[in-house]
Amino acid sequence: MSKLIMFHGKECPHCRRMMPLVEKLEKEESVSFDKLEVWHNEQNADKMRSFKDLIEPKCGGQLRTPTFINTDTNGVLCGEVPYDKLKEWTLS
């Protein structure tokens, strides 16, 4: 099974908006994201930094939150997106 991670920030409004969509998708499609908070957990932050080369080209050259990553396919999705786009990215 593919490995899905959501890097998010506790005080990031985009992340706050995306969280219920991610939870809905998890229920509907039986997928599961590792939800890693990066501003209050240095281990998670280092993990996000370790994907810097994959994330930056897709996220305006920065480590923006939220970032979704599939560690099997190296797919990256960045920012606040509609539910359908999140779903399409997750299942592709």
């Binding site: 506790k10 005080e11 409004p13």
Partner: protein, 143 residues
């Protein structure tokens, strides 16, 4: 590399590649001398300035006043972002953006200190209803 400079007449501090030709405070020309960061730090720590939340909100509101953007009227969003900015300052030393992670490269990370240069963000430039990446600042509809 950027350095600190001090106006030898009025004591203004400038951080940059080169100093201003004319001091913006005392208007004296060629008044700046390069100083080490320790001296700048000592000058700073001897100067009491407002750094609390209300002070910051006041500062960014004044900053936006003469610009084509304003602080987002969505108070809940602003509150959340200020929570992030201040917890980042407490935990990581500077008011880093709550919606981007610092890389641990200081020169890069200084660009994430709020308010950042959001005018270059694709969420802001060329957009009628543009906003900074976090939505703390939004374009004014009247400008």
């Amino acid at each position: 590399m950027k350095n600190f400079w001090r106006c030898h007449v009025c004591g203004d501090i400038h951080f940059g590649l080169k100093p201003p030709e004319v001091c913006p405070t005392c208007s004296v020309e060629h008044a700046y001398v390069e100083i080490p960061s320790g001296e700048a730090l000592n000058i700073q720590s001897g100067t009491k300035t407002e750094t609390d939340r209300m002070g910051f909100l006041k500062a960014i509101t004044a900053f936006a006043e003469n610009n084509a953007f304003q602080v987002n009227p969505d108070r809940e969003r602003v509150d959340m972002l200020l929570d992030g900015v201040f917890s980042n300052e407490k935990n990581h030393g500077l008011k880093y953006c709550p919606c981007r992670l610092r890389t641990k490269d200081f020169e890069e990370d200084i660009k994430l200190v709020c308010p950042c240069n959001f005018r270059i963000h694709e969420t802001y430039k060329d957009k009628v209803d543009g906003e900074c990446w976090c939505g703390l600042f939004i374009k004014r509809s009247d400008k």
